[in-house]
């Protein structure tokens, strides 16, 4: 499943010259296969399978020895958390291929889709990998396609944005590399999957359940677990992006082509929070407890700061980008609470934000393709000429600001419910963020959709409401947003066992929550 997109690449190059439009359909097919696989995965996923059932709560496991001399294994599998992320990735990628129609054919479209599919493989791999080394490889594999996608097919300041993104994330991930090596060397002896003994392990689950890093001697005069935790956390926080590491995001989002902004916001940001849930929390629970207040504080800063920045933006895409910063703050806050509700809320927020923000970026793309500008103040009264567009626009913005009945509300409410018992003041502060959020969303709707129609766009917009392709890409997302707004149970059910295990682990420390069925 992870490597399906790669299989599509040779086909891209088989498309004859002069028929480049076919490459798009090849890409659609290559992205559709993982989508089908993801649905299959969801259908056959047993939501009640937890740590106590064995296999450390994982399902659909692929396990083999990769590099024996360093005890590196090829180990993949999913639990409730990753299954939702895999579905999100498959969905967003498929939609993003649809949004890639606006990439001009003559700008080496083959290269574009090659990079695109490579990126999808990297993202899928990150969400499925259970060997830390493998995780890291996939994590890094993504950087390069992203650099080229922004750098070649991006907007006017693409070069600056691309290198900034690349440098930021690489700087974060090399710290993660050191932390990864340190964890490896302090892990207990174990056995590889084929039964050969190994002195150390990269297996994330064994690191989590069969090792305790609380008593490792200090390094650099600091507590080992905490130092490693911080190293990992910075790596993930840059991806989230958490204040003060967020400055790459507005540049990258604004300059990237629409489809890539969709992927960046829809999936890439979630890798940061997913990484924290998958790596930081279970492997170093003591350090996580130590740092929880800090995470929550940064979460609140993200919410407020992102919202205030968004309010000040003149560029619609930048506004959406800062709203992502703000919304990821909810995830951080929910995670930091360690309550089942808060964690589930954070997870649901990851999924919902993935769908909502994808819609937002697509909608920005729709109007940009027509008007070739994104200035919030330059429009007005668009609803009069593009009613369908305005309807989708309104739906997405309302979902993003957390209107009850749409999916964004549920997850934000869960986050607040979960966080309130733990961090009272901060939750109240964060809740004021909702007001600011509502403020800038409504203001943006007002400036763009309502008021007198700006005659400057007479020819560009009038009679050019959304076409069928845009319908097809936005409709599934809108449907998900609506359905999850009323009935979030499918997602919550899927993640509940995995989340329950994680909360257990954090509450009782390592050892207590283990170890049913570990080899």
């Amino acid at each position: 499943m992870v490597f399906f997109p790669l299989l599509g690449i040779p086909f891209l190059f088989m498309v004859p010259r002069g028929k480049e439009h076919l490459t798009r359909w090849v890409a659609v097919a290559a992205a559709a296969v993982p989508m089908v696989a993801a649905i299959y995965l969801y259908q056959h996923f047993d939501p009640n399978w937890g740590v106590k059932n064995g296999n450390s709560g994982l399902q659909f496991i692929e396990h083999a020895v990769w590099v024996r001399s360093f005890n590196i294994e090829f180990y993949m599998g999913v639990d409730g958390v990753s299954v939702m992320m895999v579905i999100l990735t498959a969905l967003v990628c498929l939609i993003a291929v649809g949004a890639s129609w606006s990439v001009p054919l003559e700008r080496s479209i083959r290269g574009y889709f090659t990079m695109f599919l490579l990126l999808e493989t990297g993202m899928m791999g990150v969400f499925c990998a259970l060997d830390f080394f493998l995780f890291y490889v996939f994590w890094e594999v993504m950087l390069l396609p992203m650099y080229f996608l922004i750098g070649i097919w991006g907007g006017p300041r693409k070069e600056y944005a691309a290198i900034k993104f690349f440098l930021y994330t690489l700087a974060g991930s090399v710290l993660m590399l050191l932390a990864l090596i340190a964890l490896y060397y302090n892990s207990a002896p174990t056995y590889l999957v084929d039964g050969t003994p190994a002195s150390h392990t990269f297996d994330i689950l064994k690191m989590a359940y069969a090792n305790s890093y609380a008593n490792v001697p200090p390094i650099l005069g600091m507590n080992f677990a905490r130092l490693v935790w911080v190293g990992l956390f910075i790596g993930f926080a840059i991806k989230v992006p958490m204040f003060p590491f967020h400055t790459w995001l507005p540049d990258a989002h604004v300059e990237a082509p629409t489809a890539i902004s969709v992927i960046l916001a829809g999936v890439l940001l979630k890798m940061g929070t997913y990484g924290m849930m998958r790596i930081n929390f279970p492997i170093l629970p003591e350090a996580t407890t130590w740092a929880s207040v800090g995470v929550a504080v940064f979460g609140v800063i993200n919410i407020l700061y992102g919202a205030l920045c968004a309010m000040a933006q003149k560029d619609l895409k930048k506004l959406v980008a800062y709203s992502s910063v703000s919304h990821m703050g909810y995830c951080l806050l929910g995670m930091a609470a360690f309550t089942g509700t808060g964690m589930s809320g954070a997870m649901l927020q990851m999924f919902n934000h993935g769908t909502i923000t994808s819609m937002l970026f697509m909608l920005v793309g729709v109007i940009y393709d027509r008007a070739h500008t994104r200035g919030v103040d330059e429009f007005g009264g668009v609803a009069q000429v593009m009613p369908v567009y305005a309807a989708f626009f309104g739906l997405a913005f309302m979902a993003s600001l957390g209107l009850p009945g749409l999916s964004g509300f549920i997850s934000e409410a869960l986050v607040f419910l979960g966080a309130f018992p733990v961090f009272k003041v901060m939750t109240i502060l964060a809740a004021t963020g909702v007001i600011i959020t509502a403020g800038y969303h409504l203001w943006a709707i007002q400036r763009i959709q309502l008021g007198p129609f700006n005659p400057r766009w007479e020819s560009a917009l009038k009679g050019h409401d959304m076409d069928r392709r845009e319908w097809a890409t936005l409709l599934p997302l809108a449907a998900i947003v609506l359905v999850l707004g009323f009935y979030p149970t499918p997602v919550l059910d899927t993640i509940k066992t995995g989340m329950g295990d994680l909360v257990n682990l954090l509450a009782h420390g390592q050892g207590a929550a283990s170890i049913a069925g570990l080899p």
Binding site: V67, S69, L143, L144, I152, E159, V174, A182
Partner: protein, 508 residues
């Protein structure tokens, strides 16, 4: 120390004998036919190297031996480097077949015989460097390599840059080897012998300050060969001025040989506590090496950022890579040495590859400055793609072999532990992030900038063909490197603790 007698040694010395014979054949042929064609000379060179490899494999034996009364060691470690050098020379030989700045082929190939004979001579010298267990031979082989390299870097007689490069190289080299010789003479004075193992025994009882001073002086010579700060000043000028195949050769071959000698010197000559421990009981070797490494990689990376000439940029990047390698070496553990050796393989593939692309593009009529690479991704997609692979690998991003090499280096540091090594590792990874910036400048020029002209770039066929395996292995070893690492570990086996006692017995 006795080792094997001269006659008994000959069998084990056969790879070097074959190499010497090859050099003589090329020289004599060149004299007889008055200027051998570059094809013939190149073919003879490849044949010689192949014969040397065959001899190496036939006489390979996992047990170490001392040859010629203990002057030279024949062990898996020296075999490892023999193979490394042979591959390097072979690749450089193929590069030079079509490189106007090395052998001016419009001029009737007059220098071809000399060029290839010199390249093989350097290989011979490097083989001896990696194998020498005696101070005298270490010095002689190092000088042998140096002198041949001076001639090679000045090979384009009509180019002023090339002559300047050669002269700079000679002057720095002369000073460095003079200082090293002084250090060696102090060691001889302390120990009364030039045999590394005996020096090791004697140094345990000698005045530690004297030992430290002597070895620091010796480091001047080694540091010069591997181009580490503060002995790096020759490097950018020589790399920029020398013919590109020679630059590629110098950036990989002698650097690897320098590390081989360094490993042998420290593992063989220095008392155990000197290898690892701190002040006065031994001497602060680890600290000294760590400082050298930190300064080397930082300076190399920072200086590479503003470079406009790609060759010069790669020169600074090779200084930075010497810093990474020193980082692994500074740990003094077998794991660290293994990481250094693995990294050398990775470095061979990616650095030779990068220089080969530079050469191929220069031969096709474009320049060597980064601006000349604008839009190469559209004018010559294949060459741009492989250069991208090499540069990404040099940065250390998976799934390339450069990442695996760096991973082992950092793993060695973290496993060694201690504040100093962990701080060094942090500095090392941050340096990797810095290096991304200047490598990405080339990527940007190739893909993000529009070409000034759009016609495709015509590149010599042998260069194009040779790039495929280099790029292929760069990726393949990045995905599955077990065999390579096992080979490295096998070559190091004699320095693993349990083997060490046995080795000492055998060498005696």
């Amino acid at each position: 120390m006795t080792g094997l007698s001269n006659v008994a040694s000959l069998y084990w010395f056969s790879p070097e004998s074959v190499l010497t014979a090859g050099i003589l054949v090329i020289l004599v042929w060149d004299l007889v036919v008055r200027g051998v064609s570059r094809r013939t000379a190149g073919l003879l060179t490849l044949l010689t190297l192949a014969a040397m490899l065959v001899a190496t494999f036939v006489t390979h034996d996992p047990r170490p031996r001392g040859l010629f009364g203990g002057l030279i060691a024949r062990d898996p470690f020296s075999d490892f480097f023999k193979i490394l050098f042979a591959v390097t020379t072979a690749i450089v030989g193929i590069m030079a077949l079509r490189a106007k700045d090395a052998i001016d082929y419009d001029d009737g190939d007059r220098e071809a015989g000399e060029f290839f004979a010199l390249a093989l001579s350097v290989t011979l010298g490097m083989n001896l460097m990696a194998a020498s267990t005696d101070l005298l031979l270490a010095y002689l082989s190092l000088e042998f390599v140096s002198i041949m390299s001076y001639i090679m870097s000045g090979f384009t007689r009509r180019s002023r840059r090339s002559a300047e490069a050669s002269l700079k190289y000679v002057i720095y080299g002369g000073v460095a080897s003079g200082v090293m010789l002084y250090g060696m003479s102090i060691l001889y004075g302390l120990a009364g012998t030039t045999d590394l193992v005996k020096i090791r025994l004697a140094a345990q009882h000698a005045n530690p300050v004297a030992v430290f001073a002597a070895v620091s002086f010796c480091m001047a010579g080694f540091g010069y060969k591997i181009a580490s700060v503060p002995f790096h000043m020759w490097c950018p000028d020589v790399y920029e001025g020398a013919p590109t195949p020679v630059t590629a050769f110098l950036s990989v071959g002698p650097k690897a040989a320098g590390f081989a000698l360094l490993i042998r010197f420290f593992a063989g000559a220095m008392p155990a506590e000197i290898q690892t421990e701190s002040l006065m009981g031994g001497a602060p070797w680890a600290l000294m090496l760590a400082c050298m490494s930190a300064v080397t990689m930082t300076l190399g990376n920072l200086a590479a950022i503003p470079q406009q000439n790609l060759k010069r940029m790669l020169a600074y990047s090779s200084i930075a890579h010497a810093g990474y390698l020193l980082m692994g070496f500074a740990t003094g553990t077998a794991e660290g040495r293994g990481a250094v050796m693995f990294y050398l393989i990775a470095y061979l593939l990616m650095n030779l590859g990068a220089f080969l692309v530079v050469l191929a593009i220069a031969e096709a009529g474009l320049g060597e400055s980064i601006d000349d690479y604008k839009g190469l991704g559209y004018r010559s997609p294949y060459h741009a793609a492989v250069l991208a692979i090499f540069l990404i690998s040099l940065t250390g991003v998976p799934p390339m072999v450069g990442f695996v090499g760096k991973f082992y280096l950092f793993a060695a540091l973290i496993n060694k532990g201690g504040s100093m090594f962990i701080a060094l590792a942090v500095l090392g990874v941050l340096n990797s992030a810095v290096s991304l910036y200047y490598y990405a400048r080339v990527l940007k020029a190739m893909y993000l900038d529009q070409p000034a002209r759009s016609e495709p770039v015509l590149v010599a066929r042998q260069h194009t063909l040779l790039l495929a395996p280099l790029a292929g292995f760069t990726i393949a070893f990045g995905l599955y490197w077990s065999p390579v690492y096992n080979w490295v570990v096998g070559s190091l086996a004699m320095w693993l603790p349990q083997a060490q006692a046995a080795t000492a017995q055998l060498l005696r």
